[in-house]
Subunit: 610 residues, 2 copies
């Protein structure tokens, strides 16, 4: 969680005859903005073939009641609820279309940051509404649309459905999903989630974490009174707030005030919000990188910069784990050794600026064991640092070798080889290819640290990431390449739908996932874990993530088109790791529930250079 | 049907120890080409980590046994059936991969036009095979792959499945469909359909008509002996050949010869093929335009060329129907008229080079009725022709008006207004907008010809059309525009999945279609029919198409991504006809079985100019 900014909570008005009054009420009770009808609820307009029938006076308040900076920052406009753009009644439909266009034009004229309306039906009954919204919003430069979506289908709440019938009631998430697809994932559409009294299943809540939820709407009836007489939320609702705090949501309070002051609600929500803040090392490091697509490092092909080394050397967990593993490896070698006094040979391959050399020396000191370290590094700039350390500090305990490990001829064989060549997806920084050449210089009973590693994949739903990738596409001529590239990304606005399963080290593997609820597949996230030695491990798998370790974000493999999943479907995904003499790359495709094209065939869109 | 070219029939050999012998046999029996194994069936190769184990001698015949033009034109190479690129056994898998690559490289070296292999499983067990095929074929310039697909799943044939279980057996069409999707609709992949003894349902056969079927494979066991002792096919199989003749397929004969000469089979297939030829007016006119995407004419915005008028004036049906309708309209006007001797006023709006003026004069002559014709035309070049005709031929019976009908002020009101402004989709050449202005010059009881018209849409499966549209995309920067444009196209390699339903004249309509079998949706075809007057009609709807009329091909509305349909699904499609002061355009989107984006929002990709 990364919310640094203060809470932002709006107050909803069902009518606003005097806007300045409303703003005064809200501001003096600490609320940051208000939601008001754009037009008085009783003021329905009649349009005949597109032109408004002349009525006495204007159809709503004039713009001069507020200064424009207030319009721009303090007001969310509510569209008239009597708009039925998909009515079967032609004149009601026509009137609704014109009303809608008029209100959107008004919101744009006033410079509002957003308008909002409530979604109450599936797309089949909302296609015309979505078309108009999408069309108008696309042409209005900054207007956002917050689509209010209830957490539960009102039908489900109104009737006491039998358990087995519940699945047949369309969830409001489906309404939203279809609406935004028809609007082609327009970035100006966001969700204002109306929090329900009885919360749905955890899974159903989590499904919203992959969506652009901008706002949680709290009816005042959700609040209960605590011992001191103040409004608070149930434990379940508190947990909900914490989950969504990651997405930097805002809040809106709606309904009748039941306390002495409406400020009480704001105070409580502010308290909850602050409680969500956290400033662990990972969060500090990752701040600003949420859902930001980065190209994976290519430390083999490119030479890393000093700054990059510096960032990664600060990981508080990784090198301490390495040091423990090396310590245990030294003990293991010594216990088998006949000559206890001989120096143990450690090769650090890919030594960078020396953190693993340091870990080796520390481990040896702790084990009271003389060692000889070869620090092999191909980046001549990093070698300068190593050589300085060798001269000033390490002296004859360390020999710096300025050489690509694949070409190095070692003068002796190693007891222990230590490397840190793993990428977010395990082998994506070409650890296997790099270590191939070193194998011949390892003693028959030598130890490799890490001992093993495993890659994992999991299907991901994230309209945010989909849109990020797609935006790249729009700017670029080679339209497919961005969907055939893997990214390193600090996943935030997403839901990993299923527990990850293992993909072994082979060059081609097929994985199967069961879909538990209707959802959308936007791609796959990749992780790894590794056994450094014995039971010393590192992991970026969500379920076993090494606490506090920030060296790796997950990898993300997008797919070209989102796939609509139904509960009970099976996802079958195929992953290949391919190589030729110059490059390594991944290819991937889906064969179920619907077959899709192979992504990145022949490495056409991205490769990892050898 | 448009096959002008002679039959092309190949002969299949299960082994070809002497290629020249095989070719001699085939050619002397009239066969146009042969299918032979690329490598002797018993010659399995062992590869160890990518390099062929040295065996005594080469792994197949050398290229010099044939001259290269023979390799290029007469030989289809069969891949070894022991290739199991998706085997769970790692060494069998590795060997298969290397064998496959070796054989594809050989086929490319020899310059074969194509290779072929048999598909026996779904994509889940064929993903690796498809990846390799797709990868290699993409990089080999001209090699085609004919994928042999049985018409029926062998499981269904082998066991006597109960009727209700049959649906659960995956159809081989699904194997093919998934295979080519994984290969991203690679144009080099074609289908070689293995004709079965018991043919599947008509619908299942028709589903293949939307696919790139290059070849029908006939086992000799399919043939029955007629009274004269020659091999013939059953009526059902004959009907099959006729259907596929439209797609310009080739044939391959496989299996043991059961007659005195293998030529007999060829003779019979040649006889069937010639029988499929037809040369009606429509076919003559349409030849070469099969599945060719054309932009719809914009006769309002652009002035048609002389040649275009000439082509359309040749329609043998359209103007004869118009003449009959005008004749009946004249009779109707006269019967109501008190002054039987007065001239009936006919306005031909959009007169072009005069075919409807001619039809009017002919009708009046037949009815023995004096008339006065106003011929209104906006194209100044066509007006030249009209004025020449007026002067030389029509004299005072006709007044040519050089004017856009929307701006014309008529000196008198019409008894009959005749126009031919309809496009393939009815109103897509802006007939409503054009006729709006004329209405005020029609007598209260005046007659409009046409009296009414109706647009129809139907879902279409056609990988050919999908690929045609996509190819446009690949060449163009604005990648989406081609999928948001309507095309006029002589549909050939497609299947219209469902009976078309009516879309009325309103500006927004929603249509629902039931899906009867698993299939792929690539877009929608559009048609119209019109009542000229009384029961005189014109139609391009497939079920009621006016025989011999060639003036209109259907319209095609593509969709951005093919949608995989399952039997029982429902397609819900929304169509809008939108306009502003300068343009008219269509928008469309699908809301079921999966929602999709609105196509052509705001007319961003194509419009029809007013």
């Amino acid at each position: 969680m990364s919310n640094q900014r203060p809470v932002s909570c709006g107050l909803d008005f069902c009518a606003a005859p005097d806007l300045n009054n409303c703003l005064f009420t809200a501001n003096s009770s600490k609320y940051e903005f208000i939601c008001v009808p754009l037009v008085h609820p009783l003021f329905k307009r009649e349009f005949v073939s597109g032109s408004a029938k002349k009525r006495a006076g204007p159809f709503t308040r004039p713009d001069i009641v507020l200064c424009s900076s207030d319009w721009n920052t303090l007001i969310i406009g509510k569209l008239s609820p009597h708009i039925k753009a998909d009515s079967k009644n032609p004149s009601l439909k026509k009137n609704s279309e014109e009303t809608l266009k008029q209100e959107l034009a008004l919101a744009s004229h006033l410079g509002l940051v957003g308008v909002t309306f409530k979604l109450t039906k599936g797309i089949k009954e909302n296609a015309n509404l979505s078309r108009i919204i999408c069309d108008k919003v696309s042409s209005m430069c900054s207007l956002q649309v917050w689509i209010q979506v209830p957490m539960e289908n009102p039908i489900k709440q109104a009737y006491s459905y039998r358990e087995e019938d519940c699945g047949k009631v369309e969830s409001p998430w489906e309404w939203w999903n279809a609406f935004r697809i028809v609007c082609d994932y327009n970035r100006k559409l966001g969700v204002a989630l109306i929090v329900s009294h009885d919360l749905p299943d955890q899974e159903e809540i989590d499904r919203w974490l992959g969506e652009p939820v901008k706002c949680l709407i709290f009816p005042t009836t959700l609040f209960i009174t605590n011992k001191k007489g103040y409004p608070v939320l149930s434990k379940a609702h508190q947990a909900l707030v914490k989950k969504f705090a990651m997405l930097e949501v805002q809040f809106v309070l709606t309904g009748q005030n039941r306390y002495q002051s409406i400020t009480y609600y704001h105070n409580y929500l502010e308290y909850l919000w602050k409680d969500c803040e956290s400033d662990g090392a990972v969060e500090r490091y990752a701040r600003g990188y949420e859902d930001y697509l980065q190209c994976p490092l290519q430390p083999l092909m490119d030479n890393l910069e000093s700054q990059t080394y510096e960032v990664f050397e600060k990981d508080p967990v990784k090198y301490s784990q390495y040091q423990t593993a090396i310590y245990q490896a030294i003990s293991a070698v010594r216990s088998k050794s006949e000559d206890k006094s001989r120096k143990i040979i450690i090769m650090v391959v890919g030594a960078g600026r020396g953190p693993l050399v340091r870990a080796s020396l520390n481990a040896a000191k702790k084990a009271n064991q003389p060692i000889k370290v070869y620090a092999v590094e191909k980046n001549p700039n990093a070698v300068l640092t190593l050589q300085a350390l060798e001269k000033d500090l390490w002296e004859d305990k360390v020999t710096v070798v300025s050489c690509d490990m694949r070409e190095w001829n070692s003068p002796e064989n190693a007891d222990i080889v230590v490397s840190e060549l793993l990428g977010s997806f395990g082998d994506n920084e070409l650890s296997p290819e790099c270590l191939d050449g070193i194998q011949r210089f390892v003693k028959p009973d030598g130890i490799c640290i890490p001992t093993s590693y495993t890659s994992y994949i999991a299907p991901v739903q994230s309209s945010k990431l989909y849109n990020e990738v797609r935006q790249c596409r729009d700017k670029d001529k080679h339209s497919l390449a961005h969907f055939e590239t893997s990214y390193v990304v600090h996943l935030q606005n997403n839901i990993i739908m299923l527990s990850a399963t293992i993909t072994d080290n082979s060059r081609y593997d097929t994985k199967v996932f069961k879909v538990r609820q209707n959802s959308v597949l936007h791609g796959f996230s990749g992780y790894f874990d590794t056994v450094l030695f014995n039971n010393i491990t590192l992991s970026i798998k969500p379920s076993t993530h090494s606490p506090g370790m920030f060296s790796w974000f997950p990898i993300f493999f997008p797919i070209r088109e989102p796939i609509q999943l139904k509960a009970g479907d099976q996802i079958v995904v195929h992953f290949w790791r391919q190589c030729n003499s110059k490059n390594v790359w991944y290819e991937w495709c889906i064969s179920e529930p619907f077959p899709g094209p192979i992504h990145n065939p022949g490495g056409r869109s991205y490769t990892i250079g050898l």
